[in-house]
């Protein structure tokens, strides 16, 4: 309807129009990327571990000096911990998902492979570990008590370790198209281990190692003492987690008071701590996006108000010549729509360019196309909401103004 008159008006205010278009374009580009980054962080924070997180609590402790009887103490600790009301299973392990410190090794299907293809996380622990973590076996079985050997004996090569449990990720990578059960895998020492079980999933302790092979983790029947990693994992009744944690100190001190308890947390705490930076970044991006949208909206309001004031006389003349209030309202709405559309088109290109640059510099993934319509819709709505006030004011200008000098 008013399309061409609007264009010719805008051409007369070229610089201002260009500036508002630029502002909308930049906002659109930044907000699109910000929403994408927020979504990426949130999905990272949702990463599954494969363990029964609601039921897990962790106690980390360390001893003073070297203890000759660490193995015996560990067994006593575990017995005492299992006796706490609410505890269903207890195990000791060298590492836990999102715990930070990690044990890893290269694995292969051939001996002494100089270019072993897969780097995998290595979970060691007491016989109940699989049950305690609650990881899901999808094939095969858990280790039998007889398969377990002590860490020292294994390290000195006195005992041959015969079996390994691997994640589905490793199974599919190393033995594509066939069942991994019973296959030989060179994990530790010169002799291979047989795959006795496959578990659905078990996350590795940190992002660095996760990058070297996401989802590649395995469990070995190596009984460690609390001095190796120092993690006691308890699987407890979810409703009694706090109660169990409160009882842990006294229980362990009764076994041997000379040790230092470093951490006592629920797995929910571990997860929260581990992703605290991502959460902060997501909040920051959200805050900046909101501020950008507000600034841009206010910019639109400011510019539209000025144009309404400037064109008061002109609007009065149009009203006197028969234009309805609706006509005037729609004129400003359409004008804003045109400006926003040009801004959005530019913004899309810019969003894409920024994403390419982020991909190059910060290992960000490619912006999915779905984010562009979201950004576009957001800015169209924003523009229309922002222009509504000034446009209403313009439509209220009485035709009589045409007869007066302004």
């Amino acid at each position: 309807m008013h399309f061409f008159p609007i264009l010719s008006t805008l051409r007369r205010h070229r610089t201002a129009a260009v500036l508002i278009v630029l502002e909308i374009a930049l906002t659109c580009a930044i907000v699109c990327n910000a929403i994408f980054l927020i979504q990426e962080r949130l999905s990272r924070m949702d990463r599954a571990t494969g363990i029964v997180e609601d039921e897990i609590v962790r106690v980390q402790l360390t001893g003073i000096g070297t203890k000759a009887d660490a193995g015996a103490l560990t067994a006593q600790d575990l017995t005492a911990l299992r006796a706490i009301p609410g505890v269903r299973f207890a195990a000791v392990t060298n590492m836990i998902p999102f715990g930070g410190s990690s044990w890893n090794t290269s694995i292969s299907t051939i001996p002494d492979d100089p270019v072993a293809p897969v780097n995998a996380g290595m979970y060691l622990g007491s016989p109940d570990l699989l049950e305690t973590l609650g990881v899901r076996l999808i094939a095969g079985r858990d280790f039998t008590p007889e398969e377990y050997a002590d860490m020292d004996a294994v390290q000195q090569g006195k005992v041959r370790m015969a079996s390994v449990i691997i994640t589905r990720g490793i199974a599919e990578r190393m033995f594509p198209g066939k069942t991994a059960l019973g296959e030989a895998l060179y994990v530790w020492g010169k002799e291979p281990q047989r795959v006795v079980g496959v578990i659905e999933q078990l996350a590795r302790p940190n992002d660095g190692v996760e990058r070297s092979g996401a989802g590649y983790a395995m469990m070995l029947p190596v009984n460690v003492a609390y001095t190796v990693g120092g993690n006691y994992v308890l699987r407890v009744d979810p409703a009694r987690r706090a109660e169990v944690l409160a009882a842990v100190d006294a229980t362990l001190n009764k076994v041997d008071p000379s040790r230092i308890i470093l951490e006592r947390q629920t797995f929910a705490d571990i997860r929260r701590d581990y992703f605290s930076k991502d959460r902060a970044m997501a909040y920051l991006l959200f805050g900046v996006s909101l501020a950008l949208l507000i600034v841009t909206a206010l910019g639109v309001v400011g510019l539209a108000s000025f144009w309404v004031q400037q064109r008061t006389r002109q609007i009065g003349i149009r009203r006197a010549l028969g234009a309805t209030r609706g006509d005037i309202l729609r004129y400003f709405q359409l004008e804003n729509f045109i400006l926003a559309t040009v801004g959005i088109v530019l913004g899309m290109a810019l969003a894409y360019a920024i994403n390419l640059w982020l991909m190059h510099k910060y290992e960000v993934a490619r912006l999915p196309g779905g984010f562009l319509p979201v950004g576009a819709a957001l800015l169209w709505c924003l523009g229309q909401v922002a222009v509504l006030g000034p446009a209403m004011r313009a439509s209220m200008i009485p035709p009589a103004i045409a007869t007066r000098t302004v």
Binding site: H13, L22, L26, P114, S258, D273, V295, L303
Partner: protein, 432 residues
């Protein structure tokens, strides 16, 4: 004339308070966000040891197996115990020190204190002189102590105060993992950030409390922390001949000539080791000074860089917003400007007048932005990041904030003022 322009600006700005506030707030938010993130970036990328960062070099060798070699592969980022000990013993640099992080239980003698863990560094005697570590009592241990694995330690001020309630404790003993160590010296609070000499530990952490000769730490079997990479099966990865890299080796060389000579020495050393059958690969050495090392390791967190770019993008939008609003505002005053021009004001004086008005907004926005940056940094300090407490405005950043505010405001004012002063007086006077 300037005060007259200021007065004109004041009148003009008061004519539309909402718009003025909008422009000021937009600039303030842009400046505030940019300065917050730039300050964080600045404190995180500061040179940790400015006087010596070009004289201290990080040594890398390649002791790995030949059959896993990929062409162009960089050497490991740490060295084996055998190489570290050999190169420290050779003493061919001005100073040299090998080290690893660790932690140890300390049993206080003071009543009421329970045993606790302290972060430590197991290193060799020249560490302290090399890194200009400030002593408040006593001094470092000697090369002789290194050789004999003496039961000796250097502790930090905080640890001394915690254990003894005093810092003048040289000669007293401290019980570490069940062994008494004699205190040789107490160092002042020393927290090089980033923790350049060992980036495997907390890069923006508080630093170590306990320093023990490396040789002693091995005899006492003190636990080590950091990263260890073994390129072959090893029953005892911490032993002298073990195929594992886990130590940092730093050397001090006070000229580039000495540095290239040392680089050559490392190449010869690698060749000798290969001839002796210890190394399998062709010499692959690196000798990086502190700044190159920090650049190579990209210590500044990526999130922080990303945040800086986001904030600068935000500032740009705020700037464009202000330019647009100022432009519309100035053009609306074409009549007034036309009258002033007709009465004899030159283009230049109109330009200056408008620039003063823009500058006023910019300065107000900058001042408010400074407040917001201060608030922003307060928020950063309460974040759960390891570098949180470092985030504070220092003098250079304060000056930079003002500069940014002024530049922003002038940039915002330049285009509108120039367009404003282009008004042709005749047309403006005629049409009204």
């Amino acid at each position: 004339m300037f005060t007259y322009y200021l007065d004109l600006a004041r009148r003009s700005l008061r004519r539309n308070v909402a718009l003025t506030v909008l422009m000021i707030v937009a600039i303030a938010f842009g400046v505030g966000a940019s300065m917050t993130t730039l300050t964080v970036l600045h404190v995180l990328s500061v040179d940790p040891i400015p006087r010596k960062s070009r004289d201290l070099y990080f040594v890398q060798l390649d002791p790995q197996k030949a059959n896993s070699y990929k062409p162009g592969e960089p050497p490991p980022e740490q060295v084996t115990r055998a190489d570290a000990e050999a190169l420290v013993r050779a003493g061919k640099a001005d100073r040299q020190a090998m080290m690893t992080g660790g932690n140890a239980a300390i049993e206080p003698e003071r009543a009421g204190l329970v045993p606790f863990f302290a972060d430590g560094r197991w290193t060799s005697s020249e560490f302290f002189a090399m890194f200009d570590v400030p002593f408040i009592a006593g001094g470092p241990w000697t090369a002789e102590d290194d050789a004999h694995a003496a039961r000796i330690a250097v502790i930090a001020r905080a640890l001394a105060e915690k254990l003894f309630g005093a810092t003048d404790v040289v000669g007293k003993t401290i019980r570490v993992e069940g062994t008494e160590l004699r205190i040789a010296g107490v160092i002042d609070t020393w927290r090089p950030t980033p923790h350049f000499y060992d980036l495997n530990t907390d890069v923006y952490g508080k630093g170590e409390q306990l320093f023990v000769p490396f040789s002693t730490s091995r005899e006492l079997k003190l636990s080590r922390s950091g990263s260890m990479d073994c390129f072959d099966q090893s029953p005892e990865p911490e032993a002298v001949g073990a195929p594992c890299v886990w130590l940092q080796l730093w050397v001090e060389l006070d000229s580039t000539a000495k540095a290239s000579a040392y680089r050559e020495l490392l190449t010869h050393y690698s060749e000798d080791q290969k001839a002796a059958g210890r190394f399998e690969r062709a010499p692959n050495v690196r000798l990086r000074d502190v700044r190159d090392w920090l650049d190579f390791k990209e210590v500044v967190p990526r999130d922080v860089r990303l945040q800086t770019w986001i904030a600068l993008g935000f500032l740009l939008v705020c700037l464009i917003n202000t330019v647009g609003l100022l432009l519309t505002k100035f053009l609306r005053r074409s009549v007034e400007i036309g009258v002033r021009r007709a009465l004899g004001a030159s283009k230049r004086s109109i330009f200056l007048q408008l620039l003063v008005e823009a500058g006023t907004i910019g300065l107000a926005g900058g001042a408010l932005g400074l407040g917001l940056a201060w608030l922003g940094l307060w928020v950063v300090r309460h974040q759960p990041t390891p570098y949180a407490e470092l985030a504070a405005l220092d003098l250079p950043m304060l000056a930079a904030t003002f500069a940014l505010a002024v530049i922003t405001s002038l940039l915002a004012g330049l285009l509108p003022a120039w367009r404003g002063c282009q008004v042709t007086p005749a047309i403006q006077l005629k049409s009204h």
